[in-house]
Symmetry: D2
Subunit: 441 residues, 4 copies
């Protein structure tokens, strides 16, 4: 956000060129970089952006960071062009959560908009379990207070910009999910109409996954992440060179094609994570000590995937298969299929008992509705619970539409199970009017 030759950025990603380009367009110097909290779901690009622009990094006093220029307390103010940015300490999601209120100094005293980080979302509020079970309730109480005593009192007409929209409200068009105000949230966000007691109860029931490999992000966001100019670019590898890299036991293939293509043909032992999912699901399942090798649908996808993986701390992508899976097969290397499954066939086989259905979605999705007699293991726990699965029957994985199911199926396949993936997932099942049960039934 820029004004009169100065700009600030909230919670930048590590790939910071976009912010710089926007600032140049406005002929604005990036003066401040505000962090709403020590993020845990991506590597913040503050150091990267500071390195390239000289912007000063601001975050909460409540945690001792290994980097940064300003430790903010409640009410600290910064001038950016004719704007004033004021910090609002809003503990709850984390102890170091800050919101940033923007004023136009020409309309002094009237707050214009607020960056709410992971404190207040459109239609939702932040989770409170990340600081540990012992303070879960306390953090829930504090979030209630931060919301009702600080954020909501700014005024109904104040526009809100939650996390992940930092620096740009919108891609390029109006999405009704992306525009909101404090007043609109008060009128429509169900969590804001709860009493303190109800609110805390709701938060304590809000159990969410903590991807195991997300700890690297917490650590880097506390200490400061490596600069990307020091990270090696992945090597272009022809099939032969790619195959040679596999002999290293730390090597692991991630296949980012769609689950349909993976089902059709893939390199043995590769893990399926479709491209758009790679920015998140990789962190659920891939250890950081692996050297990642990529199989992509198209060569231009490589840089996209590498960017996604770096955003969540996987800097160790060592190479990619050039000219793709066709070249691999053409040169005589082994490829395999994963049995593709569609709902009609699954239904038939469930009836005849020739398949075991494994649902790897999150708990709350499972609770809302699942196929009778299916088994539930959350994707993030799958690797540790393989012994709960039968080895004598075809295991068919499922999720919402087939993406996460493909990840799970590829893990099972690596581990020697007979496996299929339901393309279409629970969505397709439901759309064909096949029955679901919920957890209370």
């Amino acid at each position: 956000m820029s004004d009169h030759g100065e700009a600030f950025v909230v919670d930048p990603r590590r790939d910071v060129d976009e912010y710089i380009d926007l600032a140049v367009e406005d002929c604005a110097k990036i003066k401040y970089i505000f962090e709403t909290h020590r993020n845990e779901d991506y590597v913040v690009g503050s150091l990267e952006l500071k390195d390239k622009t000289g912007g000063e990094i601001c975050h909460s006093f409540a945690t001792e960071y290994g980097y940064g220029d300003h430790s903010l307390r409640d009410g600290d103010g910064f001038r950016v062009g004719r704007l004033r940015v004021e910090s609002l300490w809003t503990p709850g999601h984390t102890i170091n959560s800050m919101c940033y209120v923007v004023f136009d100094t020409r309309n002094s005293g009237v707050p214009h908009l607020v960056f709410t980080g992971d404190t207040l979302f459109v239609g939702d509020v932040g989770r409170t379990d990340l600081s540990g079970d012992d303070v879960w309730e306390e953090m829930s109480q504090r979030l209630f207070e931060s919301l009702h005593e600080k954020v909501l009192t700014l005024g109904d007409d104040v526009a809100i910009f939650p996390a992940h929209t930092a620096g740009s409200i919108c891609g390029s068009k109006i999405s009704d999910r992306e525009i909101s105000t404090i007043g609109y949230e008060k009128r429509t966000n169900p969590l804001l109409s709860l009493s303190r007691e109800e609110f805390v109860k709701d938060r304590l029931e809000n159990e969410m996954p903590r991807p195991r490999y997300f700890r690297r992000m917490e650590k880097w966001n506390l200490e400061g992440a490596p600069l990307l100019k020091d990270v090696k670019a992945p090597e272009l590898l022809e099939p032969k060179a790619f195959a040679e890299k596999l002999s290293d036991e730390k090597a692991l293939i991630i296949d980012t094609r769609q689950p349909d293509a993976y089902a059709g043909s893939h390199i043995p032992d590769s893990i399926s994570v479709w491209m758009d999912g790679s920015a998140y699901y990789t962190g659920l399942i891939i250890p950081f000590d692996k050297n990642i090798l990529l199989v992509c649908e198209r060569v231009e996808d490589v840089s996209t995937v590498v960017t996604y993986l770096r955003r969540i701390g996987y800097d160790n992508v060592i190479g990619y298969l050039c000219l793709g899976i066709d070249a691999w097969r053409n040169e005589g290397y082994l490829a395999e299929s994963l049995t593709p499954m569609h709902v009609e066939e699954l239904n038939r086989r469930l009836i005849e008992g020739s398949v075991h259905l494994l649902d790897i979605r999150e708990r709350y999705e499972w609770d809302e509705g699942h196929v009778r007699n299916s088994q539930h293991i959350f994707l993030g726990e799958l690797q540790d619970r393989l012994d709960e699965l039968p080895r004598d029957v075809l295991v068919c994985t499922t999720c919402g539409w087939g993406g996460r199911g493909g990840i799970a199926a590829s893990i099972l396949k690596r581990n020697g199970f007979k496996v299929a993936n339901l393309l279409g997932g629970i969505h397709a099942w439901e759309s064909r009017n096949l029955p679901l049960v919920n957890s209370s039934s």
Copy 2:
């Protein structure tokens, strides 16, 4: 704005591909095209967009248009995905002014945002003089009512999107001028805190130019504009071919380079309108029966300028000079300079009496501050008031920074005056602490 496979667009420009691309990205069909009023400052692209997408055109019942699918009254509702769009008849700026309120049907009854057309701007409201002097006061009264009884009652937390941001809130970043809410306007927009009496008085004093060539837009927006596929593309012309076109008396050169470059060298009788200004100022000075020939800084500017000119109804750009003014001179065609003037020299010459200063800005700018002893003629009236200017002394034109002054200077030069243009304009004068007087002094 799209939701669940359907989209609507408000007041599209004639170059509609951007809307279509955005819709395709969302896999959404453009279902409705809403016009906030019969626009007078650009050619609306409703027919163009309908031709390419099949979207249905909606506008006010209060005027009989020559095209369109729905004549809306107050309170008509349309479904777009899970959104509902409701028309709000808000006469004042024009008799046919409509605002469009958007609801999310999942939060029924709670308005989410409103497209306010030229009724309510961020920090301003619409002008009321366009319907003629006889109804100026009446329209001002109606605008007051439309604002206070309709728009402002939607709720403080409702986000507003005024005209010209239709279909996209923002280019790509947050500008503090582009985000507002009804509550924020109520707190900061000075016109909204006026009493009815004060408001009407203010509007009646709000005299604004009506560019003479803007009538084509009014006409086309009433009857429907030609489709661009039937408009001929400008021809690439080398200097010789360009020179030949000049023999036609309807030919007129527009030079869209910066005023500095025009001052340095230009083709005799060409009119200077810098590129970004061409989307507006052309309509002040260029008759529609001219065949426009372009001189641009770079060949890639041609399509930008052609788009700008078509937006305001100039479809008759017949050619452009390829390889620019250098090629023109290299082949021996005549080029001329316009005396460049900077503030220091102007000040010296004003003291010694060797220059006549002509300020061509709008009346309100002149009133706020001008150079003592300068003459004021608004740019839009210049052609008709040439006999008020001296022919025996150097006339130096001025405006804010030099752009409009360049237009004026090029007109004077065509008409045989000795002329210079103040590069830097009143801005530079003021920044160098040279004195200004205002109209009351």
Copy 3:
């Protein structure tokens, strides 16, 4: 190719914007459009380019075209900037084949380069069977004469530009296949060292497929093809709308994803033609009276595929499935798999006799090496020879790497066969050192 403000284009494609952009960059008017012959493998864009630029169309006198400006005889000359372009009548590939020799008038008398159309290729020469069996030998004789008496006599140092590189020698880098000279061809092209007798014999043995649906191109290239501005753009279709279109019996789905993805999941009865193959193979198998519906991997592929199909005369692409196969399945529509097959499994099943292998490559490929006991039916004849195939056993299709095999498999599947496609094809088979036999063994 342009010089001093003028340009010419040889054998343009129908999507002509690229030529226009190149000419604008050089500030050159496209003055002539040369056709090397009545092309039979793509729709020539001469009329399209003339419509947009006014360039004059030149082709051979030896055929009566339904359009065009100049009927060229041997030795006609045209001036383009400082270049001279001279026609060389070189019958053989067709009766109307022309080559175009370019001279720099500053080095008069010395030919610089020659556009050789389908007369002389790098390492090959044109086929001579297209004019019919009765004149096959005669045309072979004439090609020999055209080459040895006309083209090769231009001089060893003359650079050659065969068909399909018209207007641009190279994408953007030097490929050793793209640069050649007459002398280099004389030294390395095996067909140029044959005696007349050997040459004719070789040509008469050179049997090549004539895709049945390529006749439209011959017709349009004789009479003039429709302008693209009159061709309707395909509609964006959500799953429901897409499904509705299928009820029309003229509707046919082409799925342009890779064969792996098609194998994993596809819409029943859709034909698999991978994107890059669609520019050619569509013409082998898809009748022109079909209304084509597209399933693409990504939404940005649609315009590429539409361009490819229009190049070969399929203007009837009526729509595409938006958001792809996932959306289709999610909404409960049926999807199916095609059994994916890899070489190891195929080998095993061939041994146990549980599969019938169908090789659909061209005759000459089959002759060079195929799997023992496989059956050969050329892809272009498959639809007419379905009754030669067994219906009681799994038919596995194969080709070079899996693309054409996928087309064949999708045709068989539509016709009720049990079918699989060998991903990797004969390439993978051979690379794994599995045995091939050739036709003489």
Copy 4:
């Protein structure tokens, strides 16, 4: 140039991403980087490309370089895919000049094309004066031998690729200047038909400028240039910050707008070098110890100019004026004009004796034709010969079309002369049929 997964690059520029992108498109590893000689007119990007791709650097044994992997002698061979690249030692232009002949190993023994560096150009040959006056004749003799005994004997049909087209024959279209063969050169290049005696005489008369600041390139190309990742990006500077930088006496402004715009208005003491000229002329006039500040027409020009300047060794661009000269003037900073002059006025003033004409072109241009009574000082010597110019009369600079004249005028203006620049230059003068004299007249 790539083949089968391997590629080589000849004489890369420092901005190497283009080569890498082309290689990735072909899925090729850059294996070798060939230098044709120690270049003196740009900084070679070999080290840069090696750093990013691991390609091995190859250059001549005849000079001891401070970097590189292979010291080549005549006839060394390298394999790249199915290609073979053979070095040909061709001293003459420099002692370390090499040509690189490419063979297709499938056509063994037949050379396909040759990269001729600065040894043989289309229509010209290399200069021989760079090694010093004492060996000028010797080097001319050696160049004759290298051409006639080595390059020309490769065969008439061998295509040639001279320096500066390395890695890409063409931008994107066929230019008749860019395609040639040894045979075509033998038939059309006037220097190749000279006897040894005539050839040497011609070379010894071929006096060319040696831009004084080009020595950095020689040095860096001998020792190895700094990597760009260690070069600081220029700072975005608003007028105030820009003005502050000027107080440093090492600061120097380069204004890269067109000469017309510079004439209209510019910052005092700035040097005019139009954008496309900056890649060469900067080296004639700007010392390396200056800290360069840029004024560009558009913000997107900055990176182009920075790239151009880095190519010739100016890594010290410390900042650029954001929002350009308008912003500078608007904030009250001084701007000045340079009197623009057109031929008609010049002619008039020459007759009345009120102007002194200074022609700053190269000697050979002056010799071919200049305005009677004009003075000649080559641009590269201007700074050292200022005392030869009159200070009491307007000095009008001229060149071909106005670009170099603008550079000269800006230098004179900095040094206190009364100065104008002839826009249009000698081209316009001549095109208007005004008389020129040549040196022998």
